[in-house]
Symmetry: C2
């Protein structure tokens, strides 16, 4: 580690295929994933929702916190947390997924958080719709972007910045963006953006800025690091790429049976077992089909519904398990006709890998 990560133009550390470095494991230790065994639940238990925080979690004083509407507004204003909580309240279960989920399955891979399958979760977010507040601030006619700035600050590729993202006026009109202060019936936790964040339903998690301090109306496009220099789907170094936006269709299985502690492979006895899991897609698009690979064939699972337009859909299927070793898998299709690929799509930064979830299961003879 002789490289200085704070030098302008600093590059990410290199990676070795097939193995992971100490720095990648350190990222995995601090950015926590969901527990797949809780996929039987519609709402992810508090404290097990995935966390991907670029910089340090700011511990903010809620009593002093202010949200500022700035820039090209005709009627800019500032709101305290008391004022924000007095606005019309709504609660909505929303499924969030990290854009980097599945990165460890992409080859060749890049240096970043090495997610396998677990950077996804569904919480009941409490807050207020954002659109009426933007309207109240009266954006000027030439506004091209609304920039959302967090209080979290650090370096990436040698560039210091607050985490910030933007949405265009057209995107705001299409999306049900929420200003959020609560989660699962409790105040927002520090690591999830307390006291205030946004939730951009249907998009990958990078859009849902935490520790929100400022919303700036811009008469040009926002050029923040996290908007233009990363979170782009790119096939090679020369590819300018396209922005990461809505979540790709995906599904996960609650691993059946019981685990081996270290390999997480599964063991169960022969006989009928009900497999279940969750499936989701971006932009509120419904799931129309989930197939499960039982042995050599894909079979349709039963869909058991979703609690909200932007939340995942439950699925289940019975399996008559016979002795042997199986690589079970699940594959979802959405109403736009998109189906999960069997192999990871390549992306330079390992973004948006929605290939199928595989679970190795050892089926033993039934006890007599």
């Amino acid at each position: 580690m002789t490289q200085n990560p704070f030098a302008p133009g600093a590059k990410r550390p290199s990676v070795t295929e097939g193995v992971f470095s100490r720095e990648e494991v350190a990222l995995a230790n601090r950015n926590s994933g969901a527990l797949l065994e809780t996929l039987g639940l519609e709402i992810t238990p508090t404290g097990t929702h995935y966390l991907l925080n670029h910089f340090d979690v700011p511990v903010l004083d809620e009593a002093a916190h202010v949200l500022s509407f700035e820039g090209a507004f005709d009627a800019p204003f500032r709101l305290t947390m008391d004022e924000i909580r007095a606005l019309p309240e709504m609660t909505r279960p929303v499924t969030l997924e990290c854009a980097g989920n599945g990165r460890a399955g992409v080859s060749p891979r890049c240096f970043s958080m090495p997610w396998m399958y677990e950077a996804v979760g569904t919480s009941k977010w409490a807050g207020t719709p954002l659109a009426p507040l933007l309207e109240r601030a009266q954006p000027r006619s030439g506004v091209q972007d609304f920039a959302f700035l967090g209080a979290d600050f650090g370096f990436d590729k040698g560039q210091p910045h607050y985490f910030g993202r933007s949405l265009t006026p057209d995107q705001i009109a299409d999306l049900d963006v929420m200003l959020v202060w609560g989660m699962n019936g409790q105040p927002l936790l520090p690591q999830h953006g307390a006291p205030l964040r946004i939730i951009v339903p249907g998009w990958y998690g990078m859009a849902s800025v935490k520790w929100l301090t400022t919303i700036t109306a811009l008469t040009e496009r926002y050029q923040g690091f996290q908007q233009v220099q990363t979170y782009r789907l790119r096939k090679n170094e020369d590819d300018p790429g396209t922005p990461v936006t809505t979540i790709r269709v995906k599904s996960l299985m609650k691993p059946p049976g019981v685990p081996d502690w270290v390999t997480r492979q599964r063991w169960l006895q022969a006989g009928r077992v009900t497999l279940e899991g969750r499936a989701w897609s971006g932009g509120g698009v419904p799931i129309t089909k989930v197939e499960v690979r039982l042995g050599d064939t894909w079979q349709d699972a039963e869909l058991t519904g979703r609690p909200d337009t932007y939340a995942w859909t439950g699925w289940r299927i019975d399996w008559d398990a016979t002795p042997g070793v199986f690589d079970l898998a699940c594959r979802a299709t959405d109403a736009n006709g998109n189906t999960q690929p069997l192999e990871a799509p390549f992306d330079m930064a390992g973004f948006a890998n929605n290939s199928v979830h595989r679970v190795r299961v050892h089926v033993a003879e039934a006890a007599t």
Copy 2:
């Protein structure tokens, strides 16, 4: 991965020094660590307390949950959660640390959860003292062990078992073991053992059995897998070893300045900076000294107190940072005269590595 982890006598996967496997990263993704930037807080924010769960988290029905006192008791009984919550209530901040914390720094290392520094946390646990309940059940005179059994089940080294641990009557008499149903003013979360667990203050975390279903009085020593086949300090394959019990003296630093996203190295401007962190030892033994390496010399930090006998102690020290690259470190000493080593002590399973915490800091010229 052709090995069958469910075969009797199955061995753990092998490891390669200096790099980590996909299976190790998968463990790191599900077993989450503390966020070191929250070390400025006395209580670890809910949802960021470290998690080390051997098997799947059981999602238990609190209304149906019963704790059974079984075995060599003259007056065994069963308690519902309502009955347990009606017992005398106490709340206590207790610092817990995973016995495997620091494993990734031990060389050669073994295959298990690759913790760096972050498997530690302090929560306010609410419950009732265990000792009066054991007394009420009237253990017979020949009792040698009380076995605590959880509802979590799985395999390790090919052996199926519920997670279980034991304490002797003498240990129970010495330790302030709590039966716990609450955490930080809320009901216990599923991943922390809901609806009921024990907390064994001053011991490494493996003793604090989650999802507690049964306390069995035994007239022989308990032979459960997690008691006799693991959680032993061993120097080589032939070493029968000694049990892992109380926590070794240790300290961590809240990393100063701001991070680089991927390497977690730190950046700050030259000038005075206050470094702070936490230090703890096992068995309620107080911390008497924390030294911090600033450049080439170790300097004594100020101790800022602890909220309870079994909770960590705060420390702070001012540093006049000059431009350059520094590997800061902190080192605690307890009232028994134990001091953290500079290098990781070797253990076959990577247990109880309490070597000093190092933080790489890049100090830039102060902005003018």
